[in-house]
Amino acid sequence: MTRKRIRVLAAKPGLDGHDRGVLIISQALSNAGMEVIYTGRKQTPESIVEASIQEDVDVIGLSILSGNHLMMAAKVVKLLLEKNMSHIAVIVGGFIPDNDIPALKELGVREVFPSGTPLGSVVEYIEQSFGNLAND
């Protein structure tokens, strides 16, 4: 039995260009053996969902610092649903007030990692949630 590499799409939706967080996470996930595709900045929910389908990822990680997370996450989740791609999970990181975490989860976001979350926690969560063994 071989372990399939978890595929993650790291995305920066919207106009905010501060990418330190997403670049750090990308390196951490990559160093943990995952396949990380970084979309670059200024993505739209449409471009993110399309890339996630094309790249056949297991999970989309949205990095949002501008405060616009509820709108962005809602759109991404909705688009995935419309395209019958809801098996692709959505997680969100960045500048997320504690009060918004339940709201995000209600929208369909699987987990939220506000800034300050240790990298190890993110790696562990993704490994535990999406790591699987592929049959030979």
Partner: protein, 558 residues
């Protein structure tokens, strides 16, 4: 300089002291960049590094300017302190600026929102959810007029945090001055316009580098002729540091970017001593690594002076290292937020000790939201306490001569110069950016920094140590989504009520000039100025430029 006898005696005493204390258990100490930190520094260390007071420090206001760009510094000229802020509403932003001025602030840093920074209008699809969210939604000259209603901009130093297509904002600023009856010949103020650093840190780019450089050069030649005291550029490394660069990288990339701008502007036939006064600098200054940060500033100041002398033959090399500094927002914590005031106090002290000209600090609620007027007030008071109560400005560069500080300054200078040489070897900063070298270096260092925080090696009080379980409530700024709707309406109203013939003609003129080859005879500042005055919106003007020059396409660093 020690005599031979003095040195021998000191060396012998030093060796004796080391022997007497060798049983003390100590760990290794290094700066973030890996520079070793000895237990103590003595005149012997200065000797070893070949320290020469006149060559390495000199007197303030004289080359190499290590000790300060002016002979008397704060004794003759007060520190310019202020605020860099902006709220979602234009009227409420006008209010906080007025409050700041009434408190004695003379520097107002206008933070334009993401939509404005990206050269868009509020009804562009990508603007959704972003209007006024992190700063002021300024989309036209009319907005700018309202933002400064009742504020005489000739009495303050007004800075605009616009990086790409800065020329539009420069035009707005100069047009505003004219509306207020202020002569642009004597107007002081700035628009950051440092687009190169956007590609390697903030990410708010618009056009590709060549087009942006053309606009920057146009703004220089325009200001040289019409607004010689205005600063159409502030070369900035604050954001590079916030993106994860260490001090050597922050300094080196600042220098390399400044070199790229100077080289470009010189091609327009202006001489270096006309170029220099038109721009200044903006760096990060942190409370973390207090002495290292002060050394960093002194090192960059001296290194820049040397570059201006040796590369560009400036007659007053380094005199334009007029520096604005700010603590990085990234080092402030949410937990026990009032402790951030302590951090700001320490940074303010470092700021004055480093010999900067302008300073702002973030507010204690930086990690939670954009600031309220109350939190801005206490940030401003931090700087006033340092200025008026500590006395460190009573003499110039009071820490100069500290054995440790001079060792650090020397180390940073050498290492920054080496890194600038690496950039030179890659073909200069523009080429290095294309090769993604600085982006990679910064991202790798950011990762290193984060791992140290996660492991606890780097201690941040209230983040990974000494945290509180209490959930303290703090009054924060609440973003009102109504603002977005109003702004869209207002811009649509503006478009209806202005002289659209005039706007169309102006936009067409921008296009026609942009399509011509770059050069002083095709200065885009002129048609842009006309468009701004006819109340064209930022998005409309940037759209024309995007159509002619294309948009920048990012390549991921990895």
């Amino acid at each position: 300089m020690l005599t031979k006898e003095e040195r021998e005696r000191e060396e012998s005493e030093y060796r004796q002291w080391v022997k007497e204390t060798e049983s003390i258990q100590e760990r290794e100490f290094l700066t973030e960049e890996g520079i070793p930190i000895k237990r103590v520094y003595t005149p012997l260390d200065l000797e070893e590094m070949g320290f020469d007071y006149l060559r390495d420090l000199g007197f303030p206001g004289k080359y190499p300017l290590t000790r300060g760009i002016e002979p008397s510094m704060y004794r003759a000229k007060p520190w310019t302190i202020g605020t860099a802020s902006g709220l979602a509403g234009i009227e409420e932003s006008n209010h906080i600026y007025k409050e700041a001025i009434s408190r004695g602030m003379t520097l107002i840093g206008v933070l334009h929102d993401m939509v404005a920074q990206n050269g868009l209008d509020p009804d562009h699809p990508m603007a959704e959810g972003e209007i006024g969210r992190v700063a002021v939604p300024i989309y036209s000259l009319k907005d700018f007029e309202e933002l400064f209603d009742g504020i005489d901009i000739s009495k303050i130093y007004l800075r605009n945090n616009i990086m790409s297509v800065g020329i539009v904002t420069i035009a707005m600023h100069l047009a505003l001055a004219e509306k207020q009856g202020v002569s642009i010949k004597t107007l002081r103020g700035a628009t950051q316009s440092d687009f190169l650093k956007e590609y390697i840190s903030r990410g708010n780019w618009i056009l590709p580098p060549r087009a942006e450089m053309r606009l920057l050069c146009d703004s220089f030649t325009y200001c040289l002729e019409h607004a010689p005291l205005y600063n159409p550029l502030s070369v900035s490394s604050y954001h590079i540091a916030e993106a994860g660069a260490n001090r050597i990288q922050e300094g080196a990339y600042l220098l390399a970017i400044a070199i790229a701008y100077v080289e470009a502007v010189l091609k327009r036939g202006i001489n270096v001593d006309q170029v220099a006064p038109l721009f200044n600098f903006f760096m990060r200054l942190e409370h973390r690594g207090f002495l290292e940060e002060i050394a960093k500033i002194r090192a960059v100041r001296a290194a820049w002076s040397r570059i201006m002398k040796e590369r560009f033959n400036s007659k007053s090399p380094g005199s334009n290292f007029y520096l604005w500094i700010r603590e990085g927002g990234s080092t402030l914590t949410k937990d026990q937020y009032l402790i951030n005031l302590v951090r700001m106090g320490i940074t303010s002290l470092a700021g004055m000790l480093s010999g900067c000209q302008q300073m702002t600090v973030p507010a204690y609620d930086e990690a939670i939201s954009i600031p309220t007027d109350k939190s801005l007030r206490s940030a401003q008071r931090c700087m006033q306490i340092v200025e008026h109560e500590t006395g460190v400005g009573n003499t110039v560069d009071p820490l100069g001569g500290s054995y440790y500080l001079e060792y650090l300054t020397h180390e940073y200078k050498i290492k920054m110069r080496k890194e600038v040489e690496v950039i030179d070897g890659l073909g200069g900063m523009v080429a290095a950016i294309e090769k993604r070298y600085p982006q990679q270096q910064i991202a790798l260092n950011a990762y290193k920094q984060q791992k140290k925080i996660d492991s606890g090696e780097t201690i941040i009080v209230g983040l990974n140590r000494f945290c509180s379980d209490e959930k303290e409530s703090v009054e924060t700024y609440e973003y009102d989504p109504e603002v977005a709707r109003k702004r869209i309406e207002e811009i649509q109203e503006l478009r209806k009520n202005r002289d659209n013939e005039r706007v169309k003609k102006a936009l067409d003129k921008i296009r026609r000039v942009a399509e011509k080859p770059e050069g002083n005879e095709n200065n885009l500042a002129i048609p842009i100025m006309e468009a701004v005055k006819s109340y064209a919106t930022r998005g409309e003007m940037c759209n024309v430029l995007r159509e002619v020059f294309g948009e920048y396409k990012e390549r991921s660093p990895f």
